[in-house]
Symmetry: C2
DNA sequence: CCCATTTGACACCCAAGCGTATCAGATCGT
DNA sequence: ACGATCTGATACGCTTGGGTGTCAAATGGG
């Protein structure tokens, strides 16, 4: 329990700990985003991160806990890029938000897979649903306020657009859509306008 | 190796074998569709099916093989319902096809989950992508023939609609869309027309 | 009624992965 | 330079699940 802080390799104790934690998260993004969460063990993570098991349990107590941390970091970074884009767009034009989102999801297939697939399985279901809810609420920020039974219809379209986004990203990464990133953005902006009332 | 066919419980040898195989597939649909493929073991399947391990290996050699069989049976049954609906609709109106599809996917949350989530993970990726491809080609049967770079844009919209379908089904099963099945169908018909060129 | 076949319950071995412990070498403060 | 701390490699016990084997009870043909 005695605090033993000491510089090692030019870093303080907390710096080393944070750096190891980040290496584990990076390893998680790599393995979860390629093999899938269910196919990854603690030993795999440690090998990928270049660490030993002791340092895994230093920051996490299970694979699921790491998966949550990876998912939260990925989505948080995405939100950090999307929200300013919304503000920059004045909250009227969805293109800046879509551009920011797709630059994140199309630049890294691991991110796309995490959001579109892994976020719906196992321990990530809760957090994946939460992210989807955030995205749906984001949709409403671009839509006129409605009331009554039309509101649920609008909500359906929000989920529809969220699913469309995920599926198009996966298909694009699979190489079945021969388009540039900017072309995908253009098309999805049109899809948005087609779906928005 | 000697064939030993014999009636047992009022069934022939092949009848008993087929019935056991079907019970395993039913157990797979139940467990894969609720817990997810990755969280199910052979022992779980046998317990759910009320069989012993010997009869699992009688029909399958691994969990993934059973998962493929379950997925194929589910999708085949869906195709069997959708294709006649297309013909009945004369190939012009998408509503009959959507009705048939959604009656299958909304009536059973396990089916919805298999199609929307499990079909993208592990050993089912290949077959899930194949089903998505079939669905995309189905889309083209409702769309006017185009050529050049607009064809890839149309393909993007096909994937977009496929993703929209999956996500809406999941959201509906989660209870966040307070609509009847027929109302969901109506909304998705509108979404289709909004997306179709 | 007797025996071969079929079935179910259970035991067994083995590999893989988790969680913990041990120990030598590297690094830093004094 | 010396001792305390930090690190990496390895080993160990344990549980879980896959795949195989054994044996008695149930069933149906002759």
């Amino acid at each position: 329990m005695a605090e033993s802080t000491r510089v090692y390799g030019g870093m303080s104790a907390v710096e080393r700990r944070d750096e190891r934690r980040q290496r584990l998260i990076d390893a998680g993004l790599e393995l979860f985003g390629t093999r899938g969460v269910a196919a990854v063990g603690i030993v795999d993570i440690c090998a990928e991160a270049g660490l030993i098991k002791r340092y895994f349990y230093e920051s996490f107590s299970s694979i699921d806990e790491l998966a949550v941390a990876v998912f939260e970091q990925v989505t948080d970074r995405l939100v950090e890029q999307v929200v300013p884009a919304i503000i920059a767009g004045g909250g009227q034009d969805p293109r800046p938000a879509l551009t920011a989102y797709l630059h994140g999801a199309l630049a890294d297939p691991r991110v796309a897979r995490l959001l579109a697939v892994e976020g719906k399985t196992g321990a990530l279901t809760k957090y994946g649903d939460g992210f989807a809810t955030r995205a749906v609420e984001l949709w409403f920020s671009f839509s006129p306020a409605v009331e009554g039974r039309d509101e649920v219809a609008l909500r359906l379209r929000a989920y529809a657009f969220a699913g469309a986004l995920s599926q198009v990203c996966l298909a694009w990464h699979d190489g079945v859509l021969d388009l540039t990133v900017d072309q995908v953005i253009d098309e999805l902006v049109e899809v948005f306008h087609a779906l928005a009332p």
